[in-house]
């Protein structure tokens, strides 16, 4: 049995050294896989803030993943075709700059999360799950029918976007950018968990009536958690689109929402590094099982079922020997 803190450190170190090793041994595909895992982990760390801490089972986080993706797609599309995004009332041009794209992705996600959260938090339980799912579907169908940006076919970007001072065309550089962001967000998550906000949110999940009687509004706490969570997942979406140099409505699909949830469950709910372990496991399964069998989703399904039924603490719970229960 390993302590959770040591496990966290081990995971981050491994996640960093494997692609660096791959870089020196000229194995670019491994770097791409690792980048994919890091970005999935980022999306899941985002979801874990509202799901793990706030107890909000959002089945619609693909909304933010997709918004981030399309923020990148639309801005880069306009930049590569040299067409302005908007001319009146003022001119907005596309951009190939990652920081600008990230900012747009995060701000748009924040507004979307605020809007969706305000409506969805009027409900609770199953209704919350369903209404967030419905918002996801809404944007999914919207992105399919909105033909200006590729509709069902999606948008391709020819060259990866730029980051000042770093050559992002080198896979390992892009990996490092993503990895640094992941570390920052995990640190943010760790801070939030220990902060007054985190404590109040955690109580709002367990005993909302108690939070009310100490004069705090549990709905506001959950809404803020939902927004923070959406912003992070949105950023992950922008990075994911950049990794693939492609966005499509699939990013909005409910399977995407389900997968982000799977990362968390595989790893362990409300664990700091649960989502990372989950995402890495998922990408490895996808790669290795997918290489053996076209039907690898069966094995993923079985694994998931076993974890839900027999190991509620996820992989982190198994490794550290401490399960955690949530209601």
């Amino acid at each position: 049995m390993i302590r959770e803190r040591n496990l966290n450190a081990l995971v981050l170190i491994l996640l960093f050294t494997v692609p660096i090793w791959a870089f020196f041994n000229d194995q670019p595909f491994t770097i791409t896989l690792a980048t994919r895992a890091v970005i999935f982990a980022l999306a899941a760390v985002g979801l874990n803030i509202c799901l793990g801490l706030g107890g909000l089972v959002s089945f619609g986080h693909a909304v933010f993943f997709g918004i981030g993706g399309y923020a990148m797609g639309i801005l880069a599309h306009h930049a590569q075709t040299y067409t302005p995004l908007m001319e009146a009332p003022f001119l907005i041009e596309g951009t190939k700059s990652m920081p600008v794209i990230w900012l747009v992705a995060m701000i748009t996600s924040a507004f979307a999360a605020l809007f969706i959260g305000m409506l969805s938090l009027r409900t609770a339980g199953v209704y919350f799950i369903m209404i967030t799912l419905a918002f996801g579907q809404m944007l999914y169908f919207f992105s399919i029918s909105w033909t200006s940006y590729g509709g069902e076919d999606g948008l391709s970007i020819y060259v990866r976007n730029e980051f000042p001072g770093i050559n992002t065309l080198v896979p390992v550089n892009f990996f490092i950018i993503c990895f640094v962001i992941l570390c920052l967000v995990v640190a943010l998550n760790a801070f939030i968990k220990k902060s007054p906000f985190g404590l109040a949110l955690n109580s709002a999940r367990q005993v909302p009536q108690r939070v009310l009687t100490v004069g705090l509004n549990p709905t506001h706490l959950k809404l803020v958690a939902f927004v923070i969570s959406g912003v992070i997942t949105g950023l992950a979406g922008a990075l994911f689109a950049d990794l693939n140099r492609f966005v499509s409505p699939t990013m909005f699909s409910w399977q995407t929402s389900g997968e982000i949830m799977i990362f968390i469950i595989l790893g362990g709910v409300a664990r700091l590094c649960g989502p990372i372990i989950g995402a890495v496991t998922f990408v490895m399964l996808e790669h290795f099982l997918g290489g053996i069998s076209d039907f690898w989703h069966i094995y993923l399904g079985i694994l998931l079922l076993v974890i839900v039924l027999f190991a509620p603490g996820g992989l982190v719970g198994l490794i550290t020997g401490r399960g955690i229960s949530h209601d």
Binding site: R122, L133, S145, G301
Partner: protein, 306 residues
């Protein structure tokens, strides 16, 4: 706009809605009685369609195909209930969502493994094919009309079952008070399996019926599943009446929105833009409907439980 087109589209909406009801009824019963969210309900729909296509291909009989669809879905439902679902009744919604999501993966890939990725075809039987002339000279496909009647008949039978039989009383009691019906000597675990089988059979039936007008393929269940969720959320989770009304609302909104919204937009926009934004809005219409219903009544039209 010609009246004929409007009536035709209303009938299409009704047909779509009533098929959604068959799915939604099972979901809402299962949630109402056992408190379980079952994402794998779409897989049972798919199993029904595949069973029907296989049996129809072997025997050529549509009636046998429908029976096979219901039987296969019910058997799959019972197996799943006894092996997996039973362990989930006392857990939280998150676990239920994930475990049943896992079941979707297993069922979908399993079906692909057996039947391959190409769609199967299930033909409308000869005696139901072709158009029929309705009052006012409207030509409408007979089979779709049959679907509406079959759906209404099932809805009626379900109403009788819930309101008029001993099983129905137990199901209604199970919604309100589990301990009570256990105390009355009802074998609760048998009741749960029965309700699950009933819901599964209905899903299988609708999969087979719809499979004859669309193609039978892996992944066909999930879009319908999500619509069925929208239906029960609008109607109020647990309520059969809510499921019926929600299904019709969703069916009509989706069908009529898709046809008429672009037309309406053309009144004040140029045709191309009207087509794009009209159909974009139409594709979101039912979710917007659901949003409004939940803002107005957070537990749906006929729901009480939050």
């Amino acid at each position: 706009m010609p009246t004929i087109l409007i009536i035709e589209q209303i009938l299409n909406g009704l047909q779509f809605g009533i098929m959604l009801f068959l799915m939604a009824a099972g979901l809402t019963l299962i949630f109402g009685v056992m408190g379980l969210i079952n994402l794998a309900h779409g897989s049972l729909y798919m199993i029904g369609a595949f069973a029907a296509a296989t049996v129809a291909g072997l025997t050529g009989s549509f009636v046998l195909a429908l029976i096979a669809a219901m039987a296969a879905a019910a058997i799959a439902g019972v197996l799943v209930e006894m092996l997996v679902i039973r362990r989930l009744y006392s857990t939280n919604h998150l676990d239920q969502v994930l475990a049943t999501f896992a079941l979707i993966l297993i069922f979908s890939e399993g079906t692909r493994l057996i039947f391959g990725s190409f769609p199967l075809f299930l033909n409308i039987p000869d005696y139901f094919s072709g158009p029929v002339t309705l009052l006012g000279g409207i030509e409408y496909p007979l089979y779709r009309l049959v679907l509406i009647f079959v759906g209404l008949a099932v809805a009626g039978a379900l109403g009788l079952l819930i309101n008029g039989t001993r099983i129905g009383i137990q199901i209604r009691a199970g919604k309100n008070d589990r301990e009570m019906i256990a105390a009355l000597g009802v074998d609760i675990s048998k009741l749960y399996t029965l309700v699950f089988a009933l819901g599964a059979a209905l899903a299988g039936l609708s999969g087979a019926l719809v499979g004859a007008i669309q193609s039978v393929q892996v992944g066909m269940g999930e879009p319908v599943l999500i619509l069925a969720f929208v239906v029960i959320v609008i109607g109020g989770i647990g309520s059969i009446k809510g499921a019926l009304i929600g299904a019709l609302l969703v069916g009509l909104t989706d069908t009529l929105g898709g046809v008429f919204l672009p037309e309406i937009f053309k009144l004040f926009m140029e045709p191309n833009a009207a087509q794009t934004s009209g159909s974009a809005l139409a594709s979101m219409a039912i979710y917007i409907l659901m949003g409004f219903v939940l803002i107005w009544r957070p537990t749906g039209l006929f729901g009480t439980r939050l």
